[in-house]
């Protein structure tokens, strides 16, 4: 048994390049439950991050009593991380769950029934549609639902109501991944695959604290590092993360300066001739523009702007330029910072310059944050057209018209879909009067929370919230619908590397809670949405019907699901799309032939100017016709819009800890995880702590132009001049609203977004700090990860190591079976 709060990544199983990652099956059962007590193991995959680990749910007496990793799964080879082990089941099997609908009566939410709740929703929705039309409706969706649910939601909004005001909280986590791939390759679709970790010689992690965000993926990296021919690691992150500790080169850039660094790395490839001219000539366009844009960015210029050593820039570039096989991963450090899309496209550019794509060990993983963010993007619950279709291409719109058999004019295609921040702006201005929020918690996760709280409480909006718990956001609702959780419903979802998993229903939902799928179908039926032939718009009886319909929607598109069935997903491992007649076992990595989906008739987007977000437009795109070539997209570096000054001298950045997901609605209800990271803290460097005369545990007020928070200090390895706050802590366990004591990181963040991906810039703001009280104990920050204290800190205040104790013991079984192989023939032929 291993304490998996203390030992986050568990026991090492080292392996060498080109070997298969050994299996290790991780298992946790509730206290007092023995393996022989388990009545059934039900197949699923974990929904606590984008990694999508195959998982079996242990069921006894109709309840979930534990989990184990699926040994045969190509994603995790049996492993689970702390969140999967402790929160997946305890986060939903919980007495706090909503069990009946709530409706607002005389200003307070009271218990009700489905008939009353749905009737209220439908009455308001119908009246508004009749009086004001579809633009009065907005939907703010999730990264937590199943594919079938997103597809239902997308059809209801696009073909039932006809509103462009639909976006997901994926806008906050993964919009830039999608945008960067659309710009460079013509369509969304992850080029690389997790097996690239097994096969690479070097790994670059760009703003990606993989050790905390995708723990099982990091185990794979740690096992390579422990093996005989470890990959060379380069880490770009302002904090001294676990990734940084393992890195040969750590580039702790100033928050907000990523693009300058990327220009420097790209320039080094040109200058040193570390490029594949033949690949560039045959498979790309716009290389000269790229060369001209990066020209001023010498290592010294980068050092000046980013606050890193010029020689480290050279060393990093040398590793990229000379390693045979390079894998890059990108996440929020890039996606939620200034010039997000341009910086992320620069990663694509590095790989295109060397032709390091579509080959073993050579890949790009433009990561997702949430478990099912990928499906939100595919289905178009983020406002895009379903199946990676292009809203500017009339033929693509017509395909959906034919598929759904609806009037062509109903599908909103006259302007770009309305992104999340703009939807909230329209609510603020009173022109969206019906807002339906499902499975997300903007009252804690969006920027500038005082403004968001004001928006959620405007009188003109009728707010529907669908969730497992009475979240901070649900407190503002007019109707709250209790949702069935993971393990209480059946459906599919897809992880970062395109692996589709089936998640089966294991137990009944509590009380009257219903799956989101059933709720959307019910809404559509009650609203009377029909096809042209008069039949119901959604005539499905269950999720498998929806999956069949979705397959037709993807036929011939990059995310082709036509070869996948529920039965194919049962029993063994997940399958990577595209999976069709040509690739019956799925596809390990894309673009092996160097042909990209940039053909004007096929591409998902015609692209944008990365500095301003101005669209290229169909005419200009067709004029230069990329015809299957990838496009080098770039923009000049532009400093962040809010930078430190005399009043607000620190750069502020936000992020996660390994023990929590999002706003802790699930992880905060797991005793092991909550015990490991029970409350908020802020991080400051040792030098700054000394200058401000604060020590470990002292209480400080951190303040931006928009708000403040108070929290105890952890003196950590963060770079000088920067302050970090974790974004998980809101107010649901403190009475629901900030009662004078603010602790949410987003009280301080700025309302601003990337011009292309529209992803909010949550990782860059200017703040000041003031000490308000001496500490009485150490801060609650975990000691196991990036928030670990620096050795000189503590100063008499003992920081206890983070451990889980008896409750956090997990069983690890090493190599019970041979490792799973990716089934596609391309990999092992």
């Amino acid at each position: 048994m291993v304490d998996r709060i203390a030992e986050i990544w568990g026991t090492r199983t080292p392996y060498a390049r080109d070997e298969l990652w050994p299996t290790r099956v991780d298992q946790v059962l509730a206290e007092g439950v023995d393996e022989s007590d388990v009545e059934r193991w039900v197949q699923s995959a974990c929904v606590l991050c984008s990694n999508g680990c195959g998982i079996d749910i242990a069921v006894k007496d109709g309840t979930m009593v534990g989990v184990r990793g699926r040994s045969l799964d190509i994603v995790n080879h049996g492993r689970l991380g702390p969140k999967g082990l402790f929160a997946s089941w305890q986060g939903v099997s919980n007495e706090d769950r909503l069990t009946v609908p709530l409706v607002r009566e005389n200003g307070v939410l009271v218990e009700s029934d489905w008939e009353t709740a749905m009737q209220r929703i439908v009455t308001r929705s119908r009246n508004l549609l009749d009086d004001k039309g579809p633009l009065s409706h907005g939907f703010y969706t999730s990264g937590q639902l199943f594919l079938e649910e997103y597809y239902a939601q997308a059809i209801v909004a696009k073909a039932g109501i006809g509103t462009p005001h639909m976006d997901g909280n994926t806008r906050l986590c993964t919009a830039t991944a999608a945008a960067a791939m659309k710009e460079s390759f013509g369509s969304d679709g992850q080029p690389g695959s997790y097996v690239d970790i097994d096969e690479c010689d070097a790994m670059f992690l760009f703003g990606h604290n993989m050790a905390e965000s995708q723990t099982v993926l990091w185990m794979r990296v740690l096992d390579r590092i422990a093996g005989p021919d470890k990959p060379r690691i380069v880490c770009v992150d302002p904090r001294f993360t676990e990734v940084a500790r393992q890195a040969e080169v750590h580039l702790p850039v100033r928050p907000g300066t990523n693009l300058a660094l990327m220009h420097g790395l790209v320039r080094e490839l040109f200058i040193n001739g570390w490029i594949d001219q033949e690949y560039i000539d045959q498979h790309t366009m716009n290389v000269e523009q790229l060369r001209a844009t990066v020209e001023p960015w010498t290592p010294e210029a980068v050092a000046e702007t980013c606050g890193v050593e010029a020689d480290d820039v050279r060393r990093a570039a040398e590793i990229f330029g000379t390693s045979e096989r390079v894998l890059s991963t990108v996440l929020q450090g890039f996606y939620q910072s200034s010039q997000a899309t341009a910086s992320s496209c620069a990663v694509n550019n590095l790989h295109l310059l060397r032709g390091l794509l579509g080959k073993p060990g050579c890949g790009i993983l433009q990561m997702n944050g949430q478990p099912t963010a990928q499906n939100n993007r595919e289905c178009g619950a983020d406002g895009d057209l379903s199946g990676f279709r292009n809203w500017e291409n009339p033929e693509h719109v017509q395909q959906l018209v034919d598929l759904w058999n609806v009037d062509a004019s109903i599908i909103p295609h006259w302007a770009p879909p309305t992104h999340a921040m703009q939807i909230f702006r329209y609510v603020e201005q009173g022109s969206i009067e019906f807002l339906w929020i499902s499975a997300t918690n903007p009252a804690v996760s969006m920027p500038q929370l005082s403004r968001i709280r004001d928006i959620l409480s405007v009188d003109s909006v009728f707010l529907v919230v669908q969730d497992l718990y009475l979240t901070e956001t649900a407190q503002y609702a007019d109707v709250v619908l209790p949702a069935a959780a993971w393990g209480e419903k059946t459906g599919t979802f897809t992880n970062v590397n395109r692996t589709v998993h089936l998640s089966e229903k294991a137990v009944e939902p509590p009380g009257e809670a219903r799956s989101d799928f059933d709720t959307f179908l019910d809404y559509s039926r009650r609203m009377g949405f029909t096809r042209l032939d008069g039949t119901p718009l959604l005539d499905w009886t269950g999720p498998e019907d929806a999956f069949a319909a979705w397959k037709e929607c993807t036929r011939g598109r990059p995310c082709d699901y036509t070869g996948i069935t529920y039965d194919k997903l049962r029993g063994g491992s997940g399958v990577q799309w595209p999976c069709n007649e040509e690739h019956p076992d799925g596809t390990v990595r894309l673009y092996r032939d160097g042909v990209f989906p940039t053909n004007p008739g096929y591409c998902e987007s015609y692209g944008h100017d990365l500095l301003t977000g101005a669209p290229v437009g169909p005419e200009s795109y067709q004029a230069v016709n990329p015809a299957g070539r990838a496009i080098f997209k770039t923009a000049p570096y532009h400093p962040a819009h809010e930078t430190p000054d005399d009043d607000y001298p620190f750069r502020y950045t936000t992020g996660r800890t390994v023990y929590h997901l999002h706003t802790r609605t699930k992880t905060g209800r797991s005793p092991q995880l909550n015990g490991a990271a029970p409350d908020a803290w802020v991080e400051i460097s040792a030098r700054d702590a000394e200058a401000y005369e604060v020590a470990e545990g002292d209480i400080v007020r951190v303040e931006s132009r928009r708000g403040h928070l108070t929290a105890p200090v952890r003196v950590s390895g963060i770079r000088d001049g920067s302050i970090f706050a974790p974004f998980h802590y809101g107010y649901w366990d403190e009475g629901g609203v900030p009662g004078g004591n603010y602790r949410a990181a987003n009280e301080l963040t700025i309302t601003e977004w990337d011009p292309v991906s529209k992803q909010p810039i949550l990782k860059n703001a200017a703040v000041r700090i003031t000490k308000i009280a001496d500490g009485t104990a150490a801060s609650p920050a975990p000691t196991t990860t990036a928030s670990r204290p620096v050795s000189t800190a503590g100063r008499g205040r003992g920081v206890l190591p983070t451990v889980g104790g008896p409750a956090a013991q997990a069983k690890e079984t090493i190599a019970p079976v041979a490792p799973a192989m990716v089934v596609a023939e391309e990999e092992h032929s």
Binding site: K132, G133, L135, S136, W414, A415, P416, T418, M421, Q422, R425, Y426, Q429, G430, S431, D609, L611, T612, G613, A614, P615, V616, G617, H638, H641, I750, T751, E752, W753, P755
Partner: protein
């Protein structure tokens, strides 16, 4: 030669556009994309003006018979609300269109003169103006349905 008239027109128009962009940026601070991107576009106009300065010098001042009426006024104030935003963006669009077509005329002249220096200035700048127009147009297309149908 009337080229100086057009160079001067362009120089002035870029300045008017820059000032108007800054005006809109300030006046619509609650629309963060408009606020920040208008600043970026205004800075581009400044650069265009600087690039033109040596040409004004080389080709000389326009004569007294300059057709003054070609000059347009910029925005002196901004409007408020969704319709106000739309109309302000539309005014910017008109100003940027004037800049755009003037660049096109200067380019014609530069080609006729086979003036490599002038031509290279045009090439550096006119693409950015085209992008400015596309940004304005898309932002207006996004705002128009909401503003024209629903805004109070």
């Amino acid at each position: 030669m009337k080229l100086p008239v057009y160079l001067s027109l362009l120089h002035t128009s870029e300045g008017t556009l820059a000032a108007s962009l800054r005006q809109v940026s300030e006046g619509h601070g609650h629309e963060p994309d408009v606020h920040f991107i208008c600043q970026i576009l205004a800075a581009q106009c400044d650069v265009h003006q600087e690039a033109l300065a040596p040409m004004l010098e080389r080709f000389g001042e326009p004569g007294d018979d300059e057709p003054e009426r070609l000059h347009v006024d910029g925005l002196s104030t901004t409007r408020s609300g969704p319709i106000g935003l739309l109309r302000d963006l539309q005014d910017l669009y008109l100003l940027a269109s004037l800049v755009d077509i003037t660049w096109a005329m200067i380019k014609q002249a530069a080609q006729g003169l086979r003036d490599a220096e002038l031509l290279s200035i045009v090439t550096d700048c006119d693409g950015e103006t085209a992008i400015q127009l596309r940004w304005l147009q898309t932002r207006m297309k996004q705002a128009a349905p909401q503003a024209l149908i629903l805004a109070g």
